[in-house]
Subunit: 273 residues, 2 copies
């Protein structure tokens, strides 16, 4: 295993918020190649113990980040974790040149924006590493993943939700929705999954959360992620069924995730789209 | 005019919430054929002075409504106004037989549900009258409708929003979204337009609201509606541009709508899809 991954030296982990960068850093540390973390926003403090070093970037500048990666001698980059999308509209710590560069892009939907960032890294000779393969144990399998089996009604909701999601996710503004009894309750855009779940619960409890990525999405930089927080949000909102795409969804903190699903009697299923 | 509409006698107006049923009742009253209002939920008290009579339905029963219409001797029905969609899931004053009937429908999205209700009325020999033609003065024209002209940036947002809406509205769960600088901020499902506008404002102020109906939507029972309340919500959320589909959007209380657009410097445009 070590030999196979020996090429993974001097990897920069461009880390946003959440547990995903932690899982990746842990995997790299276990292989003996802890990453150099470039921390955007409120990154998890656990990264300190898992990284070669953590370089906080209080103000995001694409040019500054590129020069930092080069100065550190990294040849490989992993992009992971959440960066609030509103930042790219001037509502966050992003420098004016980066905002101007974003404004030159032909499209700024999720797909286009991340694609442009990856292309920029590649144009500077950096390899963007698919993190999915670093944490295979975290990928959702097909079938019942945690908690109880879905009920017959929930199975129908999952199927209905997949049908809508298939046509929705190519529009590239969100990856999840809540359905109930053959109707769509809530659709996610820039507010994020947790807020959408809370909204669906306010409209009425019940319903099924379906999360899916677009078919042509590049798995290197934007695999959907669920974790204990997703289940906590669902329990609070009174939603008891979650369906995620098998093989293309990362489940964070699997042990706690399983405990919570059981505790709140939530059904978590992996489906093939 | 009176002669042409003389056939509009004994019309039942199945009225939900909002100003749309009021505008329709007013039009009918002016023609000398005030409707018999069947009031679902919190209907506007103004209906009292515009209707032949108002029959409140504290508990919705499709069978009860049909028998009421027949007992009143109405041959024509107009469906207008909002009924909270969560009611159809048992969260409101709907009787068990009606809920059971809804559960037998092959699909319960907006399009299917309303289509089934119309078909039910027709199967009982009732004509469902397209209210759009009763209030032609309330339909949105093409071009600048109220307030200022859109800025160049807003024109781009409108075009981007129309492109997304065209692919979104056929999924039949909502008619509006908020876009900003080439990205989707918020998409409406069951929470309704006003709550979606408020959410978009919380994510960040600015952005354009685009509202559109699906191409095959039956204009008899579900034309998108905007009014003073829409502009009040937008002003509060810090959104300053609204684009609606020309010819297929009802603008309620046009005078107050125009005043508010001017007051809050909101640009309202009608577009052809």
């Amino acid at each position: 295993m070590e030999g196979r991954c020996a090429s993974l030296t001097k990897t920069a982990l461009l880390a946003g918020e959440g547990l995903l960068p932690v899982a990746i850093a842990q995997s790299l540390a276990l292989r003996g190649t802890p990453p150099t973390v470039i921390a955007l926003g409120n990154t998890n403090p656990l990264l300190e113990s898992l990284a070669e070093r953590v370089l906080p970037v209080p103000r995001i500048s694409m040019d500054g980040i590129l020069r930092l990666i080069e100065r550190e001698g990294c040849k490989q980059v992993i992009l992971a974790g959440a960066v609030p999308k509103r930042w790219i509209f001037g509502g966050g710590p992003v420098d004016p040149e980066t905002l101007a560069w974003i404004r030159t892009l032909p499209s700024r939907d999720d797909h286009a924006l991340l694609g442009s960032i990856v292309a920029l890294f590649q144009s500077r000779g950096l390899e963007v590493v698919p993190y999915r393969l670093l944490i295979p144990e975290a990928l959702a399998p097909e079938g019942t993943i945690a908690g109880r089996e879905p009920t017959e009604e929930e199975r129908e909701e999952i199927l209905y939700g997949i049908g809508i999601a298939r046509r929705l996710v190519p529009l590239s503004f969100g990856q999840s929705l809540v359905v109930r009894a053959g109707a769509v309750v809530a659709v996610e855009a820039m507010e994020g999954t947790d807020e959408m779940i809370a909204r669906a619960g306010r409209i009425f409890p019940g319903g099924t959360v379906v999360k899916m990525m677009r078919p042509d999405q590049d798995e290197r930089f934007d695999v959907p992620t669920v974790g204990p927080q997703t289940l906590e949000c669902m329990a609070q909102a009174g939603l008891a069924c979650l369906a995620v795409e098998a093989g293309r969804t990362v489940i964070l903190d699997r042990e706690r995730f399983g405990q919570l699903a059981k505790e709140h009697s939530i059904s978590v299923t992996g489906f093939l789209p």
